[in-house]
Amino acid sequence: MKREQLRITKSGDRELVMTRDFAAPRQLVYDAHTKPDLVRQWLGGLPGWTMPVCDMDVRVGGKYRWVWRNETEGAEMGMGGVYREVKAPERLVTTERFDEAWYPGESLNTLVLVEQGGRTTLTQTMRYESAAAREAVIKSGMKEGVTVSYDRLEDLLTATTTTR
């Protein structure tokens, strides 16, 4: 199967933007972002990790809560936030905050889905509270990064890339 290209760019001084195409109508892509039984099947589903908590109250003001767990390592990583805008099947605005936050404040994430000829272009914008917060997010991903949760994420990352 041909893989679509994922692009990640910095925008302004406090945003990161991801763009990716999917060979599916946007209603399906939207469902995969809003129905817990579907979210579980792809989001953060890295080897050795389960997603015991996937609570999502998809309506304006509703909350969501995601927790991933690695039994062998006894590690857990949780995050959550609030739905600010819900417009099926094209737009979702949420706040995002990690339990073990390694950057100040939360991010405001905007998901936009555009369909053309049965294909969907996904654009996800993450807006951090300040330029310093975005730099902290970026810094935390480095190999020399010190935060435990991100070290874990990084191990997972390596695991995914080597098993593929």
Binding site: R20, A23, A24, L28, A32, L43, K139, G141, T160
Partner: protein
Amino acid sequence: MQATQRLDAVFAALADPTRRAIIARLASGQASVMQLAEPFAMSQPAISKHLKVLERAGLISRGREAQRRPRRLEAKRLEEADEWLERYRQLWEGNYQRLDALLDNLKERKSR
């Protein structure tokens, strides 16, 4: 300097808009302090302060040409900082490849 401390210095240096503008200017070639101060409504000493921060982070260095001592960009440091975006991309690449597979299943189920 330890790798971690060095990165701290790099990211602290890049967290300031004036310093990012200076980096952007140096990306197109070396420049003297006076040339660097031009586009900013700032005194030369104020610019020099920013330059010192960038220099300490290893992001720029000084040429040897007598009085002028032009500053130039040390591109390798910036590349280290950008490495993260590549790791982040790989993480989401994994997520989205699983999403591809899921969407294929859903499409099939629908067409049955």
